[in-house]
Symmetry: C3
Subunit: 479 residues, 3 copies
Amino acid sequence: MHPNYRLEWSRFQENMTTEFLERQADLVKKYKGAHQFIMHDHPGAFRNDIDERAIAQFIDYPGMNIYHYDQDKSDGLRISLFGSFARSLKPGNYLVPETNAASIGWNSADQLPPYDGQLRLNFYSHIGSGANLISYWHWHSLHTGIEQYWRGILPHDLKPGRIYNEVSRIGNERARVGKELVNLTKRNKVAILYSIDSQNGLIQQRFDNNMEGFVNGPYESGNDSYLKIINRFYKALYDLNIEADFVFPDGKNFEKYDMIIVPPLYIASDKLLQQLNQYVLNGGHLILNFKSGFADENSKIRDQVMPGALSEICGFTYNEFSSLRDRIPLKGDPFQVGDKNFVEQWAEFIVPTTAKTLAAYDHPFFGKYAAITRNEAGKGVVTYFGTVVSLEILKKVLRNSLDELKLIGADQNLPEKLKVKHAFDASGKAVHFYYNFSDNIMEFKYPYKTGKSIIDNTMVEKNGLIQFDPWDVMIIKEE
Amino acid sequence: MHPNYRLEWSRFQENMTTEFLERQADLVKKYKGAHQFIMHDHPGAFRNDIDERAIAQFIDYPGMNIYHYDQDKSDGLRISLFGSFARSLKPGNYLVPETNAASIGWNSADQLPPYDGQLRLNFYSHIGSGANLISYWHWHSLHTGIEQYWRGILPHDLKPGRIYNEVSRIGNERARVGKELVNLTKRNKVAILYSIDSQNGLIQQRFDNNMEGFVNGPYESGNDSYLKIINRFYKALYDLNIEADFVFPDGKNFEKYDMIIVPPLYIASDKLLQQLNQYVLNGGHLILNFKSGFADENSKIRDQVMPGALSEICGFTYNEFSSLRDRIPLKGDPFQVGDKNFVEQWAEFIVPTTAKTLAAYDHPFFGKYAAITRNEAGKGVVTYFGTVVSLEILKKVLRNSLDELKLIGADQNLPEKLKVKHAFDASGKAVHFYYNFSDNIMEFKYPYKTGKSIIDNTMVEKNGLIQFDPWDVMIIKEE
Amino acid sequence: MHPNYRLEWSRFQENMTTEFLERQADLVKKYKGAHQFIMHDHPGAFRNDIDERAIAQFIDYPGMNIYHYDQDKSDGLRISLFGSFARSLKPGNYLVPETNAASIGWNSADQLPPYDGQLRLNFYSHIGSGANLISYWHWHSLHTGIEQYWRGILPHDLKPGRIYNEVSRIGNERARVGKELVNLTKRNKVAILYSIDSQNGLIQQRFDNNMEGFVNGPYESGNDSYLKIINRFYKALYDLNIEADFVFPDGKNFEKYDMIIVPPLYIASDKLLQQLNQYVLNGGHLILNFKSGFADENSKIRDQVMPGALSEICGFTYNEFSSLRDRIPLKGDPFQVGDKNFVEQWAEFIVPTTAKTLAAYDHPFFGKYAAITRNEAGKGVVTYFGTVVSLEILKKVLRNSLDELKLIGADQNLPEKLKVKHAFDASGKAVHFYYNFSDNIMEFKYPYKTGKSIIDNTMVEKNGLIQFDPWDVMIIKEE
């Protein structure tokens, strides 16, 4: 189908929903009491047919249903990703109207109830991301209908069991410490730019051929080019224990962040490109990806030498590109990642002007072009990926950039499955959440100011050694 | 779709056909002569949209088209499975209106004519299962139309050839010994419960994720959860040279059998569960599978502690279950099957009350639950599979149970591809059929009473050594 | 669907298009000037719904869009195959109205622009096959619409770049030497019989089960049984540096060729079979494939002993056949191809009368039948493949037959990726085209009469050593 028309059609679809919801919200506002609020319940994030950002503007709270994997795939990634997204839609907190109670699914074939402890770990994972409410779907397992196997807190026999007991423990803890964990705020230094138009533009003009994506949770096809890159960058940050917000093509709040990561910004207005220029010139560190700036807001390919209005800050040009049929190594394994030294799917024929080549292709033809570049422009820096790099290369490049920005610290040296999140309570006190997403006991040294472990109400000294049970959580609030 | 409504819809579909055929049968009965009989020609067994059991009640003979694999996949399994099913629909004998003459298929792409000798071996395989007629589709290969490549006894050149010569040999033998092999009866001690409702219930609420099934013949998708278990148990019995009948949810004839195997009886009325209870209490050995008793006759999940009305005879309860993403070993390889020591797809969280745990999962979380149990109840025994076990484990567990019932003998020690069947002629004499489903010469010691090899009219002594050509058959009738 | 009706339907479809185009051509002929000509632009060869041969009869030039692979898959095969086909539709020359300028594709996911030098190599590859025009689709890359990524000579920035420079070089060379390369003629000794009816007949009655085919270019499914065999034989010839024409079921020009290769001629009239008989009796060498002569022009399977009217010249009969589930070796590896000693997919049960068995199956059952035979009939020879042989076996058998016909020479000893084509100019002078389809430098000894390298205007002595750049071409015209 005609790509220009199709993009416009996707916007028409989004607007239908936005306008309908806004009319509903207006009605409710007329009659609701001051103690009441309006939430819209999103069935998941990054929907290509719903403009979640627009909807957030006229409601009080974004609600985000966050269904995730459990058992051996339990890692908190989906909870954090969707949480970051919901939190950024309308800066503040968000609600989780639905999440896994037990096993989920519209049929009996994929029933994966949580292991012991995972339900509680997930609860605090939501909280650590800024959720103000976690509510389970649903109370008891249904005996009839299509959700017979979307199991509730009670089994079909309606008798309190293993799941009920875990929820009961969570409820008791919440009653005790909940007030300390509500309305938390974040002060993240890294943001990712999410463009629903680029998602839709790349659904038609995808750059990859069945690249293996990072499917971060159930009911995700993993086949969408754009979301694969979002997931890949978020996964790299999550592995590095770096928390991130999202920003949007309206250009708001760019200046709050030391680093903005831009997944392929295939669709962009002149104004947005100008805002990205300004961000860099003012001192920001932009992580740009291939295909950014390629088409305008009508999916019309620009008739400029690429990357068009970004050429100056990027410090290079290209006017050809190629799909990569096979993985290609980077010359000299510049990031020391051994058998992960490969790029794939796409290569822009980048010829630097002022940019420094961070990595080039090890290939007779593509070898003359740059694969990853770095350019200083104004007070800022642009790091550009002209290709899809392996996750390991991605983490190395990001870590180098974060290091320049002095964002690398103790968190980045924790064991792999020990995750950490940070927030501030209403009085401005720092709260540190530690999560053990493994079935092993773990140890680590607590590096922040002396504080109180708020669940068991004990003091934790700076540099004190902390031991952790499998699937356990620890929340420390600085004094 | 709504599972309850869908099950009812499948019953409506079945009834449409049943009522139509019954009306036709009534008409024919009015006018047919006493020497004539009514047969319905089923295109295959275990159809989920045809209630074969109901139809059998108003006709004289079930007719079952049995198309099977030939060449290297020739093993008699489909002939026996469909034969057992047809024979049990209306206890007595059955007819085979269609079976492979030569290669079959609606196109040219899967033409697999039998190797020399296989046609005759298959003929006696039908007979040994109780067939009273074997008729080939069709006389000569058609030159036009969609069945151009469903080849007949004569090739397209209409000249007698290899296939004709084999059929001619069969015909000559039949003329000579056919009267000795008609109206044979079976005295099997093992039955399998077939529930068309459970098949339909599990089409919607399947328990497996693309589990590899035992496809026993052509034109079978092998994708139906319930039929995979039927096929798996029948295959295990067939490998053990144990013949079996089928019983149905009407509960008739349960008492005739020492052992009843119950594939996942997902849909069951209270009455049927009561009959199974009674069978055990009266001394029967029930082999029960996971999900049995879970839903009532409307596909409504029961609100009892599971396995509901079967809990007492099972000697355990469960109220959770999980899909198994990966194969899990049983703790300690209790059946000594080496690399076949695994279970898969499904695990019920079984907590025994009176049952003995025959096998438990080797897994940090599932390890606390029983995988296979055995419980004595009244005069009987229930062996329960809470998971899908490997074929090798299945054979070991079944063999142990059969041994307790004194159903293990010489047949179970024959070489792998030497199959045996038993029947009784009109005068009550035992007939033993031996089949060599291989291209090797085989030897075995005949363990039954001295009898006559009825094809070549020679005597065979008890314990006499018999030598067998590839794809050959031997039929011995006791004196 | 009914195979007979379906074949007729395919002919009806073809005729609709033929008649429509003929009416259009008649209109144009009325009004066009003497200097003008009529071309029809075919979007690719071997279309099963377009009778390209019939259409060629009332136009001046067949036009053939030849889109091909580039980069590492660049081998000239598609250019040669489609070129041979176009050239044979109406003996003479053909035009290429569209071919790759840069990367092609209706979306961004499979962009593979040529490596340096490939564009020019492809240009001369068309010319060497007899093309009189090569025209690129298209001038500049489009900024909107479904062909946004079917890139042109100019990139989206509309500035001359790498591709433009290559086209410019080609254009300059053409201005200089084009007159020497127009209206070239071929004197090939080998032809392949293409039967659109057999293609359609075998779409319904295919003989293979997902056999891996030789996909020779983009936008080809590779799933059509008949085309797989066409491609396989053409690939074998191309690998041997043997150029071939196509002949058609109208039987014209058979006598011009020393060898005619007949892919499965599933649909054939009595007359065509008679013409093939005559070709052999008069001294031709026929390479026949399985299923030839099986059905008449109505897709009715013949009621003769097979291969029917071809039996006499073949020197054997068969009346059964089998699909081959697995690859089967030939007894004794008669062609010395090691792990490529296998046949697959199909086996006719061939019993020779006068034919010599060139190879038999190494199999307990199929072993009694011949796999490949050779029979002398009249002054000619029939080599028959009763099965699908590996590409390596195919090349060996073809090479043996070509050797008998004295068609093996220096061309057949060139390095693998060095291809050669031969033609004659208007004055009858021989022109030799050499192509280096690799990224290595290559050397070879020029074996023909002393001539002039027409691009660089230097003399090349007979037996002179020639050195070749990667992706380079050399064209030598004998004095």
